[in-house]
Subunit: 464 residues, 2 copies
Amino acid sequence: MSPRRILIVGGSDAGTAAALSARSTDPDCAIDVLMEDRFPNFSVCGLPFLLSGEVTGWKELAHRTEEDFAGRRITLHKESQAVSIRHEHQELIAETVGGERLFGYDRLVIATGAEAVTPKIAGADLDGVHRVRTMDDGLAVLDRIESTSPESTIIVGGGYVGVELADAFRHRGIGVTLVESTEQPLKTFDPELSALIARELESHEVRLLARTRVERIEAADSGRRKLRVVGTEGFDLMADLVILCVGVRPRTALADGLGCDRGQAGAIRVNRRLETTVDGVFAAGDCVETWHRLLERPAFLPLGTTAHKQGAVAGANAAGGAVEFAGTLGTQVVKVFDLAAGRTGLTGNEAVHEGFDARTTEIVTPDHKAYYPGARPLHIRLTGDARDGRLLGAQIVGDYRAAVAKRLDVMAAALFNRLKVAEILDLDLSYTPPLGSPWDPWQAAARAWCDERSAGQATRPTQK
Amino acid sequence: MSPRRILIVGGSDAGTAAALSARSTDPDCAIDVLMEDRFPNFSVCGLPFLLSGEVTGWKELAHRTEEDFAGRRITLHKESQAVSIRHEHQELIAETVGGERLFGYDRLVIATGAEAVTPKIAGADLDGVHRVRTMDDGLAVLDRIESTSPESTIIVGGGYVGVELADAFRHRGIGVTLVESTEQPLKTFDPELSALIARELESHEVRLLARTRVERIEAADSGRRKLRVVGTEGFDLMADLVILCVGVRPRTALADGLGCDRGQAGAIRVNRRLETTVDGVFAAGDCVETWHRLLERPAFLPLGTTAHKQGAVAGANAAGGAVEFAGTLGTQVVKVFDLAAGRTGLTGNEAVHEGFDARTTEIVTPDHKAYYPGARPLHIRLTGDARDGRLLGAQIVGDYRAAVAKRLDVMAAALFNRLKVAEILDLDLSYTPPLGSPWDPWQAAARAWCDERSAGQATRPTQK
């Protein structure tokens, strides 16, 4: 008999996907979703665009309505926090708006997500110092902006969220200083490409400070309330607003209480069915380690797309199904002002670090035939293993209107299928002069990669 | 010992690719390319954009310069036409600018392309009636436009070239009537999608006449020289310019003279090494039949992208290599005013015709999260085989700025790897709200396809 009561803890991407998938798998089971806040399945990835003003109301960020859940007989419990669990009795006790409440379950799905890391520095809890991880975080920053009209902000951390927020604040006309402890922002790209993002940020008047570590934040009274941020390299700057985005860590307290093992980066250990090490308990999303399809081992890569897919697998299996997560390739894309930057698989540096005989080729090529007006340069890097010719990763930076994200997805599909670099040349990709070239840019890069490996033996022509 | 003398007849995409590939394979062999016109490796696909005025000079259409050929020691013979061949002596005689000349060869590559079909109607050869197939064709139309400033044109045939030319002439402000003998233009799409193209044409003041066959063209003197076109359905219209684009047929005279077998649609029969049935003779491009990767049999699909790939294979093998053509999927994209329309694999109708248990799902979905400004609808159709779940084809129509061409290529990569429809859901595709959705539109379509097949058994959630 299939499980009758499925309890899901967490109502963001993974939790929602689990609920919907469980319902598809079993039309009859009871599905309860506990969520700490009041924002069921909101797009936290959309917060930078709410803060920029491009999205005009926070309610627009809802992926779906509460009626959608009700229509599928999924019971949402907002503002409800798990406080204790007796797994041997299949009971969870939660603090809800209406007081403490007991939830029985046959299968439990943990989708507690990740939380923003707060750096251990003095002043991280001062008024005006924010994180942007949850809907509540984002609304607090929005309220701050609207109520205090800040003129300057310091963003600590140059990852995806940091550069998106730099764009967002500049969009509002707020001065931005971005402080990054490593060589340059977006260190998840090879430095040749993250340098292009750094240049894009600077050309939009983002003041960029690399190799700088923030050491403390002070409240400084100078007419209007300001914050003073002090760091290495003599960094000492005042701002009206400080955003800390130095990474996330998995939220595992509930899983820990159940005795679930932890794996990569302290995330909950799961197999490809998204089962934890405790019987009857599944977990999915930013709180778990992720099967990496190319490395063929778990990794910690908290991403929305992965959370959706894992949630769907966990929910189906919790409801009595038998499906496996196909794995992640770490595919990511970010828009920064007029550029988009994307990666899938491994970067050149990562591939070397992982022990591959990794060789990377970079080319710059127009997005369509140069004779047709409006061609824009694409900077693309292709990484393959010199030993067996296998494709290991692809990176691309170019004007966001030049189909950068979907170009990347062509390589994501190639990597999913474990193609060799040379096989990219065989793909029957589309061509019309206003939108492409007879040999796609990835094919031009693949040819260059092959030519560099076996000078004189390549079988495909070069082409402009 | 590898062949020392490679003779290539034809200097467009396939011939050029063959020459370059032969040189990569063998740095020492002699490579001669005979071409009838004076336009080595020009982009005839670019002619509509020359005629529209978007490309300002015809020389811009060169894929590469003559110096590129010279630098690779590839000898071009422009305005040279093969007149006879003695294969047993490995000799070809050509009429060249400097008179008759004999070319010896060890391997011959035939890349004679296809020619525009001229419909068997009276007046098809009148002054002012044109085809747009070769560079000379295109330059003649351009000259006609510039010297006579036509105000009206009738385009006969609503294939890719016909709709591109309709766009081009409207771009110049010339009135356009497009006459198509079938139900609607772009019949290589399922009618649900070609209807969108028809509407786009009409919204840009292209007068569209479907189910109408042109029967004769007359010279009609009415002040300035006009042409009168008469057809079925009472069609009777005057215009300054008539363009015939009713298809192409392979040019096989040289191959016929050698005794090469012909295959699909009368095109030269070749194997996957691009060998003809005559020893030592290769052929590639629009004059040959094409291995269809999905149908696993030859087809006639004359396309520039395929010509490049086949040429590369033929050239490599002619120079002593041993490579195979991976096959076509019939991937095509066309830009028509503000829309782009693309297809890869089989349409729903084609798949049914080929005997698959083909089921097609159509969805309309925004190109990125609707909350971010500027989202545009994409109309996509996914076709799969209900028996084994295999993906058979994908079609997409949407604003050309919505990455339509590269979205299509993601499915081309999926088809290349023989994915099942359900596996599309496992692809790790990119996401950021301004450029996509957590579940890509293809994934939304794949989920809909799966849900329709196995109601209640799907394991993936629906999502808005």
